[in-house]
């Protein structure tokens, strides 16, 4: 597994905090490699994530971003890339 | 003429709450749910009869059971009443419930009658009405106004398994039945000649006896004394002078044999007249006070099954990797429906017992319960249908009974007196009651709110057409006083107190608006505002019934019904229905109520105040998928 950069770690931490709030679960219960759906976040709910991320980091994302990157790990890695591309 | 339906003295014996855990499950045992110790004979009889009836009805999920869901749905599809089921009801001597004890039947308590019929309505309203209650609706006029011979004949007919049809209404005049045209003219030799049609009459084509509401005054002299009630034996009618008209198909209670009849110069003997000539309207209005009070309490059974069916669905259907019942919204809907059933049962309890305890006030309460209960039950079923989703729409299969009960329910708000007609009965009485009873006034005796226990004999002569007093509202005020006083000072009662205060404040507003009602509001030209007041008033009565049922239980030391949480949930629902801003302490206690629903569901106990044991095996949580 490639090393996690500080920026990626920041995204991860942020996502873990957010999800633990949304899902009412302690942070250390959330595994970054497990798909959101396994935590009971259905596909419709997952769509709402993009707006929060946009707000927090000033990125411009597709609403389906959490469908295409369905774990915290994948999503954080994507966000690093999206940020460096200046998003879209 | 004094007509007493029983002679059981008011035992004053505080009935034990109906909350004992049903311990025998696995098969339908005839064991009454509650020990029965310390119960008076009347109460014990009711409980035994309910238990025996439930045992007769058997497991609703058993394929071959004539009272099972599958058989009842099929009968409904065919538009028939199952012969087998009717035969079983006859063998059970169900008609005895409609015949006063002194005439050899079981009837002595109106609340008991509602409770005994409820298990049947839990299965099928078509059988409930078509086999049973229609005969009672007819017979009550004879019990109230008939002479010894008529009472004896009617008792013999019913006890022999026969049927009575009741023809008050004419389709052309609906609730305005004083304008009915079906006539009975003196034939010159003491008898009558019948002329005219009656349409949409249950069992018209298969009843041995008819109770007919007829115009007996000469044309042009129409008024409150122009109609009379006649009791007619169809076997004795000249064949060519009357006929049964075509059957009407209906959306609900499809099994009921609704038809009509047409008479042409049909001669009936003098002894057909029930009560005085010209006394028909009064007899009808008195009879209605009893029938309108008692029928909603029976019909509650249908909503019990609707709720049970949704719980069955919600515990077994999976969605988003969990059961539907794990969805908080579904939980809340189920819990609220149960709470609404308790609210309904509380007002049913008060209304049926008021017939015995407060006959002078029954005219308002009968109309109130007939108006409010069907409305609350229909709203609850609508909400439950949303949880059932597509399965609500499928007529057969596991959940098919739900749509049947939903189709059947409106019949109850239509049959003898629609909602608006009930409100119209209440409205003209409101200003007087508001003036006389809504600030002071004598509260109802505590026995009104007991879920069991003896009652004074029914005396139909004490039923009057306009209420003199309003003890149920006075009891709301009394409950408020009690909750504010030292006797119920506990902090744990703060929510009850706050909710009762909210209801009392609403009462004050309703009172002011009632006092301001104009003279035109006493007629059919009443403003929509007056109808809205009647609606709010009935909800206040329901609130009073709930809090007082709870207070009575506290006294008697029950468990579920003595717990303040159910009454807080119930009063919260009442406030919601009233559209009041909820006090901070309001709480539907969804989780706790849901746990109660699930407990009763799994152990097979009824969703009402009586918590009775139901027939059938314990319910396990087999997932739906596994059944396919």
């Amino acid at each position: 597994m490639p090393a996690v950069t500080p920026l990626e770690a920041e995204y991860r931490d942020w996502l873990v905090t957010r999800l633990s709030g949304y899902l009412r679960r302690p942070e250390n219960d959330i595994n970054v490699c497990i798909p959101f759906s396994e935590y009971g976040m259905d596909s419709v709910a997952a769509l709402s994530l993009f707006g929060d991320i946009e707000d927090a980091f000033g990125l411009y994302l597709e609403p389906t971003v959490a469908w295409d990157y369905p774990t915290i790990e994948a999503l954080a890695r994507f966000l690093v890339r999206a940020g460096s591309d200046g998003a879209l | 003429m004094l007509s007493r339906l029983n002679d059981t003295p008011c035992s004053g014996d505080p009935a034990e709450g109906p909350h004992g855990a049903g311990t025998t499950h696995g098969q339908a045992g005839a064991t009454p749910d509650h020990g029965g110790v310390g119960l008076d004979a009347g109460e014990r009889q009711i409980r035994e009869r309910v238990a025996a009836f439930e045992e007769l009805l058997g497991d609703p999920h058993e394929a071959g059971n004539p009272f099972g869901n599958a058989a009842l749905l099929e009968a409904d599809e065919r538009g028939e009443l199952s012969v087998e089921a009717e035969r079983a009801l006859a063998a059970f001597r169900l008609n005895d419930e409609f015949v006063p004890r002194e005439l050899g039947g079981n009837l002595d308590r109106i609340d008991g009658l509602a409770r005994v019929l409820r298990p049947l309505f839990r299965r099928d309203a078509s059988l409930g009405l078509g086999y049973g209650v229609t005969s009672f609706l007819a017979a009550i006029a004879v019990w109230a106004a008939g002479d010894e011979a008529q009472r004896g004949r009617t008792a013999d007919l019913l006890r022999g398994g026969g049927r009575l049809a009741i023809a008050y209404h004419e389709l052309a005049h609906g609730n305005d039945f004083v304008r009915n045209e079906f006539s009975a003219r003196p034939d010159g030799s003491g008898g009558y000649l019948l002329d005219g049609r009656k349409d949409v009459i249950n069992n018209a084509g298969r009843a041995e006896g008819l109770v007919l509401f007829c115009l007996t005054a000469p044309p042009g002299q129409r008024g409150p004394r122009s109609h009379s009630v006649l009791l007619v034996d169809t076997a004795g009618l000249p064949e060519d002078a009357w006929r049964v008209t075509d059957r009407y198909r209906t959306v609900g209670v499809r099994g009921c044999q609704v038809a009509g009849f047409s008479f042409e110069r049909c001669r009936v003997p003098a002894d057909a007249l029930v009560g005085r000539q010209g006394g028909g309207v009064e007899t009808a209005l008195r009879s209605f006070q009893i029938t309108r009070s008692v029928v909603p309490g029976m019909v509650l059974g249908g909503a019990d099954t609707a709720l049970r069916t949704v719980v069955r669905f919600a515990t077994s259907r999976e969605l988003y990797r969990r059961s539907v019942l794990d969805i908080p919204h579904a939980q809340a809907t189920v819990a609220s429906a149960f709470t609404d059933l308790l609210v309904c049962d509380s007002i049913c309890l008060a209304a049926t017992r008021a017939v015995h305890l407060l006959p002078e006030q029954t005219s308002v309460y009968a109309a109130a319960v007939k108006y409010l209960v069907p409305k609350l039950l229909q709203d609850a079923c609508y909400n439950l249908s949303i949880v059932l989703g597509a399965n609500f729409y499928v007529r057969d299969g596991d959940y098919g009974v739900f749509q049947k009960h939903v189709r059947d329910l409106p019949m109850v708000s239509l049959g003898h007196a629609g909602s608006a007609a009930c409100q119209a009965t209440i409205i003209p009485q409101l200003p007087r009651l508001a003036r006389r009873s809504w600030t002071q006034g004598t509260p109802a005796p505590e026995a009104l709110f007991r879920t069991g226990g003896g009652l004074p004999a029914l005396d139909t002569d004490r039923l009057v057409l306009a209420a003199e007093d309003d003890a149920l509202v006075a009891s709301l005020l009394a409950a408020a006083d009690r909750l504010e006083g030292p006797r119920e000072a506990g902090a744990e009662l703060a929510p009850v107190r706050a909710l009762v205060r909210a209801l009392v404040a609403e009462l004050t507003r309703v009172r002011e608006e009632c006092l301001a009602l104009g003279p035109h509001d006493r007629t059919a030209m009443a403003s929509p505002h007056a109808y809205a007041l009647a609606d709010r008033y009935t909800l206040l009565l329901a609130g009073s019934a709930c809090v007082n049922v709870w207070l009575a239980q506290r006294q008697d030391g029950g468990d579920f019904l003595a717990d303040p949480r159910w009454v807080v949930a119930a009063l919260t629902r009442v406030c919601r229905h009233l559209g009041l801003p909820l006090p901070e302490e309001a709480d539907e206690h969804s989780e706790w109520m849901l746990a109660e629903v699930l407990g009763r569901y799994h152990e097979g106990r009824s969703f009402d105040l009586y918590d009775t044991h139901l027939a059938g095996p314990l319910v396990d949580d087999e997932p739906a998928a596994a059944r396919h």
Partner: protein, 609 residues
């Protein structure tokens, strides 16, 4: 603001119709014949007969094919006549006012074909267009026996096999599954599922080898009893690679985007049903004598009828804006469709129940009064709230967007789409571009966003026109309510997945505010033109707007549906409002017009009295 020259209303009954879509609907209705004429194929009598026998309305559907209804399901770019979704909406509405079974049985083809037409797969769309225009029926297969709303739980699989795919599994509770020729199926293409694990496959049963599929028996349903509600089982059914529409893994997204459009069209079914129920109730009230008067004279009856009419107009206003937004505000359709699909069927369920109370015993008799039409439509209509995304699913999709909705309302971004053409009935709509459909609206709801400015505009108009004062006051109250609501949903929705019951209640209130905002926008932008038309009296002095806002606020004040009987404060003005509105209702009834904000004659013609 107004771009086309004003028309003036001519005297007499044969007015020129100001809106082509309403005119098209009227033409369909006229050409289907007077439904009260028992001899017609499209008569009420025939509908009842088919319903009773649970017979499929084959003859009716064939006649509609002949009329060319299916042309309106096919976008013009693929050779059909669908250019303006208002046309389709009005056609469905007019069909539904006669018989929901027929409207649903025929209209299902649009639902089935829509994912293909919206997918951007032109080859597939052209192939399908040819078949649809020739009368082939298309079904939409999402649901399975044990899976409903949770479309990502589907178990019907499509696996690669040679050059194509092999389908295995079952779809159940599917409209026209047996009688239809084609099926748009949502299939699982990845064993692990997930939002990218499903694909839409268009299956032509005529091309499947024998023995690879069979039909499941027709289900007995509460309403639309004649419809073919059945299922299909596929067993190693082979399809070509080109049967996959919208790409492998793109099925869920395509379906959700398509549902935004179809959910916006379903409310037309409800509008038709409400018209039918109200027409029956007004007719009954006018002929029924009770207590020595006509029922129609009793204040309670008049109040009930006026309330139902106001509710119908509320639904129509919301739906008109929603359908126009398919073209003019496509990127926010996710919000708009959910509001319309939830609110309109729910309110119409209430209308139908209230009017049933008015009809009394006659609502319960299956064939005695007016053919038994009421009981049929009451049973039929309950399906509209269930299929194509049920009540809870729509409310839930609002709940998950609460944060974005609140954000964009309370702190609007610079982004402001131009909404004039959305609200102005006299303006042409831009062409619909399916490419702009997105699963979640990025900027919340611009329709809701217009509320504060619209309220100010109405207040300004009311300064010189006292007749508008009450409407303006109600609008201000709506604005306050909307603000409070957004503040609340901005803070209290920190969870997803298991939304609290209170959130659903907020979503209900949100939908009501939204409907109020839509109505306000519609009135402001269209009243000048409409006031000159034949329904001008409804528009003048903000009559319908005031009535509609009143209904919205009353529902806001109450915890749940119903119990609208209590008149709000201000008794006298309110009775007056109810009476003025009722006069318009009776006029539309007697003239033989659709109960509508816009003129549209119905085939029964004027009522002689």
């Amino acid at each position: 603001m107004v771009t086309t020259p004003r028309r003036t209303a001519p005297a007499g009954l044969d007015w020129p119709l100001p809106h082509p879509s309403w005119e098209l609907g009227a033409r369909l209705d006229r050409e289907l014949g007077d439904p009260a004429d028992d001899a017609g194929v499209h008569s009420y009598q025939e509908s009842i007969r088919l319903d009773e026998g649970e017979e499929f309305p084959a003859e009716q559907l064939a006649a509609l094919d002949l009329w060319g209804l299916a042309e309106y399901y096919v976008p013009a770019q693929y050779g059909g006549r669908l250019t303006d979704y208002q046309d389709l909406s009005q056609l469905i509405r007019m069909l539904a006012r006669r018989d929901l079974t027929v409207a649903i049985a025929h209209g299902k083809t649009f639902l089935g074909a829509a994912p293909v037409f919206l997918s951007g797969d032109h080859a597939a769309a052209r192939r399908l267009a040819r078949l649809v225009r020739r009368g082939a029926r298309v079904s939409l297969g999402l649901t399975e026996r044990t899976h409903g709303s949770d479309i990502l739980a589907g178990e019907l699989t499509a696996e690669n096999h040679g050059d194509g795919l092999r389908l295995n599994g079952e779809k159940w509770l599917i409209n026209n599954a047996t009688r239809g020729r084609l099926l748009s199926l949502l299939t699982r293409t990845s064993p692990t599922g997930g939002p990218r694990g499903f694909s839409l496959v268009l299956v032509d049963k005529d091309e499947l080898p024998e023995g690879t599929y069979r039909h499941l028996p027709k289900l007995r349903t509460l309403g639309i009893r004649g419809a073919d509600i059945s299922g299909v089982v596929l067993q190693d059914a082979p399809v070509g690679a080109d049967a996959v529409v919208g790409g492998v893994g793109g099925g869920a997204e395509l379906v959700l985007r398509t549902l935004q459009v179809t959910r916006t069209l379903c409310p037309a079914l409800s509008l038709g049903a409400a018209d039918h129920a109200l027409r029956l109730a007004v007719g009954f009230a006018q002929e029924r004598e009770l207590y020595g008067r006509m029922l129609a004279e009793l204040p309670l009856t008049r109040h009930t009828l006026a309330g139902a009419y106001a509710d119908l107009l509320l639904c129509e206003a919301l739906n008109t804006v929603a359908v126009r937004s398919i073209h003019a505000l496509t990127s926010e359709l996710g919000v708009t469709a959910a509001v319309a699909k939830y609110l309109v069927p729910s309110v119409v369920d209430e209308i139908v129940a209230d009017l049933g109370g008015l009809l009394g015993a006659r609502s319960f008799l299956a064939d005695h009064y007016a053919h038994g039409r009421y009981q049929k439509l009451a049973r039929d209509h309950r399906i509209v709230g269930i299929f194509d995304g049920n009540t809870m699913v729509n409310l839930y999709s609002l709940v998950v967007q609460f944060r974005a909705l609140a954000r964009s309302f309370l702190a609007p971004a610079d982004h402001r789409p131009r909404l004039a053409s959305l609200f102005d009935l006299d303006r042409r709509l831009p062409e619909f571009d399916p490419g702009q459909l997105v699963l979640v609206s990025r900027y919340g709801s611009s329709i809701m966003g217009t509320l504060p400015a619209a309220v100010r505009e109405l207040r300004a108009e009311a300064v010189g026109r006292p007749a508008l004062a009450r409407a303006a006051a109600l609008a201000e109250e709506l604005d306050r309510t909307a603000r409070e609501l957004h503040e609340r949903i901005a803070t209290c929705t920190s969870t997803v997945g298991d939304a609290a019951p209170a959130s659903f209640e907020d979503a209900r209130r949100y939908s009501l505010c939204f409907a109020g905002a839509a109505a306000l926008g519609l009135w402001l932008h269209s009243h000048q033109a409409a006031e000159c038309g034949p329904t001008g009296e409804l528009w003048r002095d903000g009559l319908w707007l005031e009535a509609v806002l009143d209904r919205v606020l009353r529902r806001q004040a109450l915890g749940g549906p119903a119990r609208l009987s209590a008149p709000a404060a201000g008794g006298a003005t309110e009775t007056d409002l109810s009476e003025r509105l009722e006069a318009r209702l009776i006029e539309q009834y007697q003239r033989g017009s659709l109960f509508s904000l816009l003129p549209c004659p119905v085939a029964e013609g004027p009522v002689s009295c």
